[in-house]
């Protein structure tokens, strides 16, 4: 391979993709602040990030109320006068709220909320046996806490599964495809087909029987390039490839094509590993891989399945839409429209 390509690891590259993703309604100016806020209230949060933000602010709000107005809050929910316990609960809420908002290891913080919810429920139960407690209000408060607890459990499960992985970890995915190992092997062995279903790749060019030059897309029209080589080639069964020695990026991948049971097509199993270097290239690579390499590889496999089974990749990019809101434009981006 030539080392030249890594002298300018990030070349400015205007891709036609960016143009395609721009909505015909990209002028935001006609929107008043009020309208946008109204939108924000109406549309549903999609991403667990937004959910964790919501839970975070909810925790902080509740925590502040517990610390600043323990008696009023106690009366409102009918548990009676226990300012010390209330304040302790407030500290717990704020801690887990800040943890959620800091977005590091959010899964653990969300689970700390679940723990907190259990504590709240236990306390409400204890308060219910207290003579100065109002049973009706406690029941209402318990229902509210139960609902929040359900949301907490949901968010924790979502977030736990999706924390930022160490980029050098091996990511594996598999998908059943209605085709033969032979056909799938032949499709994959022609490495120039890879960008047709691997969304982060702009192009792969064969430079020899086993060698190829890869260009990956990065945000803002930038790109990262490297050379790779097939290191294992089992006809109709599988392939393994890796970046050639001296590359700034280390990338390894294997794919296996296993006949599924009872003739139900082929199970395609992929394992990939990227070891980014420190510095600028590393940052670019992390951006390319996104926050969820596992999800991205699964989506790549889905596109492969669509191509092989139907001859095309299902899409809505380029279809008409009515006037989008700010949220719609920022959330519905590359993936959907």
């Amino acid at each position: 391979m030539s080392t030249e390509s890594f002298d300018t690891p990030t070349s400015a590259r205007s891709t036609s993709e960016t143009a395609q993703y721009a909505s015909p309604y990209s002028s935001y100016s006609e929107w008043s602040q009020e309208e946008m806020e109204m939108e924000a209230r109406r549309e549903f949060p999609l991403e667990p990030r937004q959910l964790s933000n919501f839970l975070g602010w909810f925790s902080i709000g509740l925590g502040l109320a517990e610390i600043l107005a323990p008696r009023a809050l106690g009366r409102a929910i009918g548990v009676g006068d226990h300012p010390a316990i209330m304040r302790a609960l407030g500290v717990r809420e704020i801690t887990s709220g800040l943890g959620l908002l800091s977005q590091r290891a959010t899964g653990a913080w969300a689970w700390s909320r679940v723990g907190g919810d259990a504590m709240d429920l236990a306390l409400l139960g204890a308060a219910a046996r207290n003579p100065d407690a109002n049973p009706q209000r406690i029941a209402m408060a318990a229902t509210a806490v139960l609902g929040v607890a359900a949301l907490d459990v949901y968010a924790s499960r979502e977030l736990s599964g999706r924390e930022l992985p160490a980029t050098d970890e091996v990511v594996s995915q598999s998908l059943a495809i209605n085709s033969t190992p032979q056909a799938l092997y032949a499709f994959w062995r022609n490495v120039e087909n890879l960008p047709r279903f691997m969304a982060h790749l702009e192009s792969v060019t064969a430079t020899g029987d086993r060698t190829s030059h890869w260009i990956a897309k990065a945000p803002a029209g930038m790109s990262v390039e490297w050379d790779a080589e097939i290191v294992r080639d089992d006809a109709n069964e599988g392939l393994a490839w890796q970046t050639v020695e001296g590359s700034e990026i280390q990338h390894q991948g294997t794919v296996r094509f296993e006949p599924a049971r009872s003739g139900r097509g082929t199970i395609v199993r992929v394992e990939m590993r990227y070891v980014p270097p420190a510095g600028k290239v590393g940052v670019q690579l992390a951006r390319i891989l996104g926050e969820e390499p596992k999800v991205q590889i699964k989506d790549d496999l889905r596109r492969l399945k669509q191509l092989i089974e139907t001859g095309e990749v299902a899409t809505t990019l380029g279809q008409p839409t009515g006037r989008r809101s700010l949220i719609g434009r920022t959330t519905l981006g590359r993936r959907m429209q």
Partner: protein, 400 residues
């Protein structure tokens, strides 16, 4: 072109948007001649289905004329008049090969979203939130139809739109719900909800040989239509206790099969209804399953509960003990419309079914906002609203 757009919870508007283009080889563009508002569109309207975005074009019940085909579509020509099934199905995957078209593995570009909610993704659906693909729908002058070589079915010129439009969803949905009941001679079937799906469930149950069909609703005009569809008895749940009347009518045994054609916005009485309303309003429970709970409790031992009604997420207080201890079978699913279109078209052609009896309102496309409001509030005895893009004044506008 003009298209009906979701503009927020409880807000529908007709906007001018770009015309759809062929995006994939197997696409076709249809010029819409008739399109209906579905009960499930009301769930989107009311904000009960997540992943809706302002600007989404609604509508999954539509038909019209082919005006453009991609190079991969060889069975359709420009000028063909077609009805289009609401699920988008590739025809090539494991599920399509088994004729489970609403479970197509290849038509939802947002499958990752659906997997988060449900574990696996169903097929893409026109105009039905981003969790089922975010496809622009057919309440518009034109619509792009993916996998047009698999879905759209040509219909004979001799049959007017109103006779074949409901092959896109509600007629096959009612039919599949009745078919799921595995009706035997002598069977009694109870149907909760006499909207379009309930009415076609009643009609189909009779066609499939049910001896006795009981229809349950609270609107007299809908119960009258249930009679028209073939119901032997109608129950207004505001006047009678449904559970004890059903026992009474079946000698204590209960209906052999129960069909919940109501879905997630059930209207019921008493404390559990308030409980569900509150939880749903606070987004703690997405679905309000009053009819489903009652159907499960009413169903006879070893019977079937068939659920064509739409549920999207979580429900509370489901009497699962009744399901286990009475050995009930639960059948559900989005309709595999492709499977039923041709046999049901035959029944329409030979006069066994005339689905147009459910239509109460015919309006222009730009009257969509009013149509949604009237339908949601069940004003003017509204059961089914049909919109005719391109027609200045549909005959029988606002006439029932």
């Amino acid at each position: 072109m003009k298209a009906v757009c979701w503009q927020g919870i409880g807000e529908i508007g007709v906007e001018t948007v770009p015309d759809p283009q062929i995006l994939n080889p197997r696409d076709a563009i249809i010029k819409v001649s008739s399109t209906a508002i579905c009960g499930s569109d009301l769930h989107l309207y009311g904000g009960y289905v997540p992943t809706m975005y302002r600007g989404d074009i609604l509508g999954h019940e539509f038909m019209g004329e082919v005006v453009e085909v991609g190079p991969g579509v060889t069975n359709l020509s420009v000028g063909d008049r077609v009805v289009v099934p609401f699920p988008i199905s590739c025809g090539n995957c494991y599920f399509c090969e088994k004729e489970l078209f609403s479970l197509c593995e290849n038509s939802n570009p947002n499958a990752h979203l659906a997997e988060k909610f449900w574990g696996h993704s169903p097929a893409g659906i026109f105009g039905y939130s981003h969790i089922t693909g975010g496809y622009a729908g057919g309440q518009a002058e034109y619509v792009r139809v993916p996998f047009a070589d698999v879905g759209p079915m040509k219909v004979p010129e001799s049959l007017e739109d109103e006779k074949v439009l409901f092959l896109t969803d509600v007629l096959p949905t009612g039919y599949m719900a009745a078919e799921a009941c595995d009706i035997q001679p002598g069977d009694t079937i109870a149907v909760w909800g006499c909207g379009p799906v309930g009415l076609f469930s009643i009609q189909s149950a009779k066609l499939l040989g049910a001896s006795f069909v009981i229809a349950i609703d609270r609107f007299p005009e809908r119960l009258a239509k249930a009679k028209q569809a073939g119901a032997d008895v109608t129950l207004n749940y505001e006047d009678v206790s449904v559970l004890s009347t059903l026992k009474d009518l079946t000698g204590g045994r209960g209906p052999d099969a129960c069909i919940d054609a109501v879905g997630l916005e059930a209207h019921m009485h008493g404390a559990t209804h308030i409980y569900d309303r509150v939880k749903q309003a606070m987004r703690m429970e997405s679905d309000r399953p009053g009819a489903l709970r009652e159907a499960i409790v009413a169903c006879r031992n070893g019977g079937t509960v068939s659920v064509p009604g739409v549920y999207g997420g979580l429900i509370d207080k489901l009497p699962f003990g009744a399901i286990v201890n009475k050995a009930l079978t639960i059948k559900s699913g989005q309709t595999h419309v492709h499977r039923y279109m041709r046999p049901l078209l035959e029944r329409i052609e030979n006069g066994e079914i005339d689905p147009s009896f459910i239509i109460t309102h015919r309006i222009r496309l730009d009257e969509a906002a009013l149509g949604y409001e009237v339908f949601r509030n069940k004003e003017e005895e509204c059961v089914k609203v049909v919109m005719k893009p391109g027609v200045e004044k549909p005959t029988g506008a606002h006439v029932h």
